[in-house]
Symmetry: C2
Subunit: 517 residues, 2 copies
């Protein structure tokens, strides 16, 4: 493995991808700020989109949503919602929802650790995130196992390493850290290893406040400066159908108050927690997302919220969730229509239900990815490494999926169609039966013309066999091992360690903060 | 393996997919006639497309194309082209090309063995073909080996089995049959095992005439009846850059005379046999395709031709062809724009350069597939099973790729967005914290709501491990083995064997027909 890594490292240097001296003529793709070049693909007529929106408003008006947090019910009631004290059901008038859609920002400036990593979240922009929320981690060398802090840190290093992964996220749950202190470790890893836009868990106000304080310390911001911009995000999952639990409602409130980003995502599995039709699942998703973002706007008009969609289907024989299915793609395309109807930035979900990084995993992941791309999703979460419908994150799959994301990123770049690119003279230069390898047109461009693969191997069968007949996943092991071995965290991130460790030491002495449920 | 197949077969029967009595309530998707539901995605402006077309006309007018077949040069000359007798270069005026684009049919009715398998080839329709032209065949049980007639026959059975594969094709080269008799075996296998639209090699007039005669015998047609409709197709590859060899030129002439379909496909690998830019490779492709289809229209105005595109790139370090790359996807999207400019049905090419059916193979194949889908290709060749850039066809990859094709086919079906699908009542029926499994809305639809996977396994990690931790490729082995074991050729196809065998026996006695080169 060491030999492989060394050889691959030499090859990478030859390719000039490591940014060393003398490589100015090599390819330096910029994947940091992607604009989606594809026309959004609709599955519903405009009338049908309006009908889904209207039905979602009826769901909120006539049926309501159960809100478990008293403070949230009070906020809703004060804003004009009808709250049933016996059932905790909250019914929202469409005027409240319309006002919320008006005050929610259509564009969010996400401030990262350095300005070069800042992101604009709005319709038309496209960001990718690695798989998140998995209890387990897996790789070909160590097998599948419960996630640890060491794994989480390695995943943060890999997310930092690949420019096409635009934000950090809670890839795996570090189960070796007590849950009263886990959020310190998770936040510390993000802030000291990376300068990308970080995630903070919404597991109760004490943990959220700890997270905000760590961000203020790391970024050197006052409370007011912190509130003035979006410095982190959280994901709020409603409990479909029609329920908002205590930590999630509290998270919406806490993040809105602090001007931080809530990604409000119903997880609507058609046939299980949502109606079996794509239109029905999206109607429930839309109603729940609207309820959540309305709460955020009640707390603070203009609070940054991302419309969330993660609707797929289940296997009706076993109840098992499925991803990358035709229904998942369709639900994502429909969600894009609903998001555009609101005008808000929005998130989709990628992923696969496969148990190993095989052809099924790749196909499902790419179908989900294309659903997101063709739906115009602003944030595509779980786009790399996610297996088992989110029960594990795979190191090698993260690498092979990054290759797919880089391919999409390459498609964002314009294709020159000027006279020089059309190249009549180049065609004239090469006679029938000849080749273009040494044509002037080729020589002027060959270093930078084509995408250079991360893990794909295009050698012929003989050479591939001589190199050990490795699958893409086996080769991916060399890629992530090398990325970790060569990893140097950004100096600005490293510099935050001292102040963060001081804070963590104090809070640990104080007993930390248990998650609220 | 036998046990697995039996278990899987039982599961398939339970799922009701085998069409047995009592399964009327199960899902019966119809993949036979697909209309592409996606908006075509452009990479060039309309002006740039016009400039590429104009430059291609300049290439043909000013530079010309080398035509190795004297008869073809004569035909071109008689139609007004300038032929240089010293260099065999043919220069075509744009008037000739414009006339050809006018007379070429915009819609081709492809007559298969039964009307239920007929296809309409025109912009907006979408057909998929398995990988074609490979010298080798591979599967997990027997490994990679030179193709044999037995393999070819098995592949024809599998192509016939999966409705989402719309035409037959020369998947692999049966190298165990002498090349003077090989075309008899290939044609016989297609006509006796399948009722789908068949392929005939263009390897010289004697072989082509044999193929046409076998088709007339199998279909019970007179020569005039045969000529009146398109009963088969061939693929014409130009020798890029700017050369048309003897068998290919002869093929265009023979197929046009007989009213059969020529798919005229330059194989333009940017940086090698074509300019290194996507626009340049497409300009050369366009010029060569126009030259070929002009020859067909000179021979017989109205002869059915399919505009062919198979432009990708090479690795500039090794010269190795690559597929499913960003450049391949872009070239396909641009080719779609050029094809729509001509108004003709057109073919694209899928595939992967991977050496084994792994994550790379799946990702590359699906990227190439999406290129074809979003470019609006009428025929997508090499869409299933193609490995090593066409040097082998894999049985298990054919199955995993068919799952991807079926997913795309499912996306062609409209998504209901009516009030009943939106399902306000269903949402009202299920209380917060409940589930939709037993809702009336679900019960009325659960048998047919969702795509049922062919090879994907959505079981959880524990069950998957207990079932032997099989990869998708390993499970695919059971799928293709079962499909072959259960295969029953269409009665109409079986019925052709007698008359074909009589013909083959006579022609074999006469010495067969060697390929022309």
């Amino acid at each position: 493995m060491v030999d492989d890594a060394a050889r691959d490292s030499r090859r990478e240097r030859r390719r000039g991808r490591t940014g060393e001296a003398g490589s100015e003529t090599s390819r330096r793709p910029d994947y940091r700020s992607l604009k989606n070049p594809f026309l959004p693909q609709p599955i519903f007529s405009d009338d049908q989109v309006a009908a889904i929106h209207d039905t979602a408003l009826r769901v909120l008006e006539e049926l309501g949503i159960k809100v478990l947090l008293p403070q949230a019910r009070e906020l809703f009631a004060r804003a004009g919602a009808l709250v049933d004290p016996d059932t905790d059901m909250v019914r929202l008038g469409r005027d409240m929802v319309t006002a919320a859609l008006t005050s929610a920002p259509k564009s969010i400036q996400a401030r990262a650790g350095t300005r070069a990593r800042d992101l604009t979240l709005e319709l038309g922009s496209m960001t990718f995130l690695a798989g998140c929320g998995a209890p387990n981690v897996t790789d070909l060398e160590r097998g599948r196992r419960p996630g640890t802090l060491a794994d989480f840190e390695d995943l943060m290093r890999l997310v930092q390493h690949f420019d096409v992964l635009h934000m950090l996220g809670p890839c795996i749950e570090p189960q070796d850290v007590d849950n009263r202190y886990r959020h310190y470790a998770v936040n510390r890893a993000q802030l000291t290893l990376s300068d990308k836009f970080p995630f903070v868990f919404a597991r109760g106000t004490p943990q959220v406040e700890d997270g905000f304080e760590m961000l203020r310390l790391a970024r050197g911001l006052s409370e007011d400066e912190f509130r003035a911009n979006a410095h982190c995000y959280t994901v709020i999952n409603t409990n479909s159908p029609r329920q908002l639990d205590i930590p999630m409602a509290q998270g919406i409130i806490d993040f809105a108050r602090a001007g931080q980003v809530s990604v409000i995502t119903p997880f609507c599995l058609a046939g299980a927690m949502a109606p079996i039709t794509v239109a029905g699942a999206l109607t429930l998703q839309h109603a729940e997302a609207l309820a959540g973002l309305t709460l955020a706007q009640i707390v603070r008009p203009g609070a940054p919220v991302v419309y969330g969609s993660f609707s797929s289907n289940v296997d009706m024989k076993s109840g098992a969730p499925a991803f990358g299915t035709p229904e998942h793609v369709k639900a994502t395309l429909g969600a894009g229509q609903l998001a555009r109807f609101t005008g808000l930035p929005w998130r989709s979900g990628g992923g696969s239900a496969a148990n190993i990084s095989d052809a099924q995993a790749a196909h499902e992941t790419q179908f989900a990815l294309w659903g997101s791309v063709l739906a115009g999703a602003t944030m595509c979460i779980h786009a790399a490494g996610w297996l088992e419908g989110g029960l594990s994150v795979s190191f090698e799959k993260l690498v092979t999926d990054v290759e797919a994301l880089q391919t999409v990123a390459e498609l964002c770049a314009p294709t020159p169609g000027d006279s020089d690119s059309i190249g009549f003279e180049a065609i004239a230069e090469v006679q029938p039966g000849g080749h273009f390898f040494s044509a002037g047109h080729t020589m002027a461009r060959y270093r930078t013309a084509f995408y250079e693969p991360l893990v794909a191997d295009w050698s012929n069968f003989g050479n591939w066999t001589q190199s050990g007949s490795k699958t893409a996943s086996e080769r991916a092991t060399g890629v992530w091992r090398r990325a970790l071995a060569d990893f140097v965290p950004p100096a600005s991130a490293v510099a935050t360690a001292g102040v963060l460790d001081e804070f963590i030491a104090r809070r640990t002495q104080e007993g930390g903060a248990a998650p609220v449920s």
